[in-house]
């Protein structure tokens, strides 16, 4: 009984600040986005919050967010996938070649996700069955392999011009005439809807299915997952396959957005994806992070790049800033954890 009393006392001793920690832990990142939006709006009152600019941000982040979402799941298992930038390029090239070969649009549309799926499965099988010592090594290898194959099948040159149905995915507009009157310029990008739907599906998957729970468990303690009878290798293959599949979807969106497949597509975007996941509050050591956080991380990167572009800040300074934000975000997380363990 005295145990319970002691707990109660501790609870009363908690300061307001400590009690606010869970609130910030959950919503702090959304607060940060709001602050960024407010600041950029003050700096660029005519442009930043214009319909055109906002839709532009969403169109840009939509394909990047697919990579971030996939990499997020991998990072939750305490793994890493460095190959997603190459998967997006290979799936894009595969799509372009299928399109050039005159296949019907619905086949072309399936090519990119299918290639991504197979690439991801290849990663997963390598990491589990081949007993590679760390996913870093396997996916570093496939980072080179997939891009190399992409260049081999395309001859290293861009391929341009896709069917209307493909372009709609990355560049389509859902007109809002009903709200803004006939011929209004306001619209919602198709890729934004697609992004929201996919994020919602994966939120359900990670939070409301057994496999989702097991993905977190593996990240927390793979030994515990094994002891609970979970086939850890099989789940890891599923995770890497889904990560590749999402990169393939990213390739499909990018194809629609740019109407071309080019050798440098997705170059270094795996690093952007990892950055977004880390900024979004996921732990690099696995087991921690939310889908909402990933979305926020992606938005922070997108808004930051967009805002800096609007203000004509040089790309070099942008690199310095994004790097600093990654370190700052993780440092805040370190401080938060110190506070949390002290109570």
């Amino acid at each position: 009984m005295d145990h319970g009393e002691k707990r109660l006392m501790n609870k009363n001793q908690e300061t307001l600040f400590v009690r606010l920690i869970p609130f910030f832990e959950r919503y702090g990142i959304l607060l940060l986005i709001l602050i960024m939006i407010a600041v950029l709006h003050l700096l660029q009152p005519d442009v930043f919050l214009s319909w055109r600019n906002v839709t532009n941000i969403f169109k840009q982040v939509s394909w990047q967010s697919m990579l971030a979402l996939g990499v997020f799941m991998v990072i939750v298992t305490a793994g890493i996938d460095l190959s997603v930038g190459s998967i997006i390029m290979l799936s894009l090239m595969g799509l372009a070649i299928a399109s050039k070969a005159g296949m019907p649009w619905y086949v072309v549309m399936l090519v990119a996700p299918a290639i991504g799926f197979l690439c991801g499965m290849f990663n997963g099988i390598g990491i589990t069955l081949l007993r590679m010592p760390h996913p870093f090594i396997m996916t570093l290898g496939t980072l080179y392999i997939f891009r190399g194959i992409g260049n081999l099948i395309s001859g290293g040159v861009p391929i341009t011009g896709f069917a209307e149905q493909i372009r709609v995915i990355g560049n389509g507009k859902i007109k809002l005439d009903a709200f803004f009157g006939e011929g209004a310029r306001e619209y919602i990008p198709t890729s934004l809807i697609l992004m929201i739907v996919i994020f919602f599906i994966f939120w359900i998957f990670l939070n409301h299915t057994r496999i989702g729970k097991w993905i977190y468990a593996i990240g927390g303690n793979p030994g515990a997952a094994r002891a609970a009878g979970i086939n850890v290798d099989r789940i890891l293959i599923v995770v890497y396959t889904l990560c590749g599949f999402l990169a393939g979807i990213g390739g499909l969106i990018l194809a629609g957005r740019t109407n071309s497949a080019y050798p440098n597509a997705g170059l270094q975007s795996e690093l952007d994806a990892i950055a977004a996941v880390i900024i979004g509050g996921a732990s690099f050591f696995g087991g921690r992070g939310t889908v909402l956080g990933v979305f926020a991380g992606v938005m922070i990167m997108g808004i930051l790049r967009n805002g800096l572009n609007l203000m004509n800040v040089s790309v070099f300074w942008q690199q310095v800033l994004i790097g600093s934000i990654i370190i700052l975000a993780v440092y805040i997380d370190v401080l938060r954890r110190q506070l949390a363990t002290r109570t």
């Binding site: 359900i204 299915t209 729970k213 468990a217 927390g220 609970a228 087991g287």
Partner: protein, 248 residues
């Protein structure tokens, strides 16, 4: 305590190449009984537990559950027969809440159309009921395991082992990693299991543990049965002697 036999090992031997880990070891366990297994490092305690839980196959000898001979091919088989193991390293995922850990791998689900979704409400309810049944005190079933003390973690590990009506629970050094003030709570929990009719085998180095919770104690020495006694007929000094291979 009834004399109903729930688990028996007869002449179990286990060889690893030329090494003999167990030689003709016998063990029996009655319903609602707490059996202490003692022995020095390398005496074969952990090997014996792994044979009982199906992680190792015995090289010779036989296992009987409820007086029926069984062959265990994996820990799953022993689980299905109602035997659960609480691992020394606890085997909990610190990033997950208590309830998730207790039901990890056996999550309650509900069907929505063709899909199975986690039933969060039911899991929470079952967790609270189970914790209450075992008289385990925690702030909330949603608390993450990494926020718990060592003793609470051990309690969660035991709760996990008994969540599916286990009849037999094996515990390997359940108090080894605990602060002194927490040991008592875990020992209370073991006595609580006994009251609920669960049979328990406890491996421990600590005489206090053995003499607080056990009904009977058996000592292994160099992979063989060395001595065994009802607890009331022996003393700490005698049991310590057994561990070191001394008998009067």
């Amino acid at each position: 305590m009834s004399d109903e036999l729930v688990l028996e090992a007869k002449s179990v031997s286990k060889f690893f190449g030329t090494i003999t880990a167990l030689q003709n070891v016998d063990l029996h366990l009655n319903k609602g009984e707490v059996l202490g297994v003692v022995g020095d490092n390398g005496a074969g305690k952990s090997t014996l537990m792994k044979v009982l839980s199906g992680l190792y196959k015995p090289s010779e000898g036989a296992l009987f559950f409820d007086k029926e001979k069984v062959t265990l091919n994996s820990p799953r088989d022993s689980q299905n027969l109602g035997l659960e193991m609480v691992y020394q390293d606890l085997a909990l995922a610190g990033n997950l809440p208590i309830g998730d850990n207790i039901f990890l791998g056996r999550e309650p689900t509900r069907k929505v159309g063709p899909f199975n979704f986690l039933d969060h409400k039911k899991r929470k309810q079952l967790t609270e009921e189970h914790l209450a049944k075992l008289k385990i005190n925690v702030k909330s079933a949603d608390q993450k395991v990494e926020e718990l003390s060592g003793g609470q973690r051990q309690a969660v590990a035991i709760a996990r082992a008994t969540a599916f009506n286990a009849k037999i629970v094996l515990m390997d050094e359940p108090t080894a990693a605990l602060a002194v003030k927490e040991v008592g709570k875990v020992l209370d929990l073991i006595l609580n299991l006994k009251k609920l009719g669960v049979s328990v085998i406890v491996i421990s180095h600590r005489m206090d543990d053995i003499f607080t919770v056990c009904d009977r104690v058996m000592a292994l020495f160099q992979g063989t049965n060395f001595a065994e006694s009802e607890l009331k007929n022996t003393s700490r000094d005698e049991v310590i002697g057994w561990i070191m291979g001394k008998k009067d």
